[in-house]
Amino acid sequence: MSHSQPIAGDFLSLLAEHRLEPGAPAASAAAPVQTQATTVFGFHCAEGVLMAGDRRATAGNVIVTDRVEKIIEIDCTSVLAIAGVPATAFEMARVLQTSFEYYRRSQLQPLSLPARVRALARLLRENLPMTMQGIGIVVPLFAGVDHAVTPPEPRIYFYDPLGAQFQAVGYAASGSGSGTIRSILSFQERYGQPRPSQMGLRDAVRFASRLLTTASEFDSATGGINPDTETYATVKLLKASGVETITDAQQKEFLHD
């Protein structure tokens, strides 16, 4: 019933048909210091993939808020972790959420994991002018369930700012505190007992909280865990059966065990 047909199931081409595609704003040398959000990471644990992030957003040396949600459930089989400029990253998350659901409903089948991974790469490529100018940069992590294997398995992907995608074997981290977190994850995976991939949910959440606390000691842009102010991480567990949010109350309970 429309005048011209967009690519079947492609939400961005539908938006383009209506001239509603999200556009990149023009950069200006006089632009204010942009808000940044760090730090996020994901690792395989015994129950699936655990994705976690601190809740701090900064602009230069200013802490904008300690209540940002950087781990975003895109749909019941994929999770996005954002590091970089929230304005761009949240818009990417919204595009992905609508695109994946649009494809599933219109084509009567879910989008495959490779297509989901590329959809995010495409958004990063389209953000290239903002990235090259040093503003609007986003370096996300993505976790999705691969239904092409039996039984279905969750997988982690990381990206470079230009949109290249890589599959992480055990873990991935992004943002200003990621160096510390990758070092600890590497050490724990090689020498630790238990290894992150062997940890149950309770241990994995406790480990994730401690990773963020350690990162916050070396990086002022990473918010740590502060039970006194009820500030906890954002934690989601991606399993083959779906996404589970680990609430503040659960984190509090796990940390006090």
Binding site: F11, L15, E101, S106, L108
Partner: protein, 246 residues
């Protein structure tokens, strides 16, 4: 021919008759508002009668599969563009049908040199409580009726549709569960599909149940469920008849 008003009216009347004739072979679709959600049901070849449109919206229809598909696609496109440009909460059936599908179907129906849509549809919007569940009964010519809660049926025969709706309204109570409701919808489906009356004495429940079981052999019972309580925005599920214990 159409520059004369009488000829135009005659052409539209012929077109109406043609659509009615084409729709006669279609089997009904039904929906019921229950305490825990909205149940939609049809019997077809799998993914051919009952569809998810958006987070709290679903569609069921009978008619030509290609026409159902075009309307389904138009509704999905409109809902997702609306959700993206405004918010998912702004997607409403009233605007989708009243300002989108209804006028488009009417325009198409009155363009007498193009093929008409061969469809009869019902659309459902899940509310926070059964009394605020909204149904639209949308016809091939773009006309529609709205209804809050209760039971709704779409067939090609208005009298049979009204009788089935009345019977189901009496049978499905506020405490009827999903499986009982699906069983009753299937009993009504069987009576309608076999062109049997609801006004004469109905066979007993066991016979009605045996009737739909026999009539659905080799076919797929398509069920859509909009769950009222869920932690996820997308409320639509497609349980199988076996999962409902039918």
């Amino acid at each position: 021919m159409t520059e004369e008003p009488y000829r135009w009216l005659e052409a539209v009347a012929n077109r109406r008759e043609y659509v009615h004739e084409q729709l006669k072979g279609g089997t009904p679709v039904l929906a019921a508002s229950l305490a825990e959600g909205i149940l939609l049901l049809g019997v077809g070849g799998g993914q051919s009668k009952v569809f998810e449109l958006f987070d709290r919206h679903a569609l069921a229809g009978l008619g030509h599969p290609a026409d159902i598909e075009r309307i389904r696609q138009a509704a999905i496109d409109a809902a997702h563009v609306e959700a993206f440009t405004r918010a998912p909460e702004d997607v409403s059936l009233r605007r989708l049908v009243g300002f989108g599908l209804g006028p488009q179907l009417k325009t198409n129906f009155e363009q007498i040199f193009s093929a008409p849509f061969l469809v009869e549809l019902l659309l459902a919007e899940l509310g926070p409580e059964p009394g605020r569940d909204l149904f639209f009964r949308l016809h091939f010519d773009g006309s529609y009726q709205t209804q809050f809660g209760g039971v709704i049926v779409a067939t090609s025969d208005a009298a049979a549709e009204a009788a089935a709706q009345k019977w189901l309204g009496e049978m499905i109570k506020s405490n009827t569960d999903r499986t009982q409701a699906a069983d009753l919808l299937l009993q009504a489906w069987w009576r309608l599909a076999e062109n049997k009356s609801f006004t004469e004495a109905l066979p007993d429940e066991a016979a009605r149940r045996a009737g739909w079981r026999e009539a659905t052999k080799g076919k797929e019972i398509e069920i859509g469920w909009l769950a009222r309580q869920s932690s996820r925005p997308a409320r639509y599920q497609a349980p199988t008849a076996a999962e409902l214990g039918l």
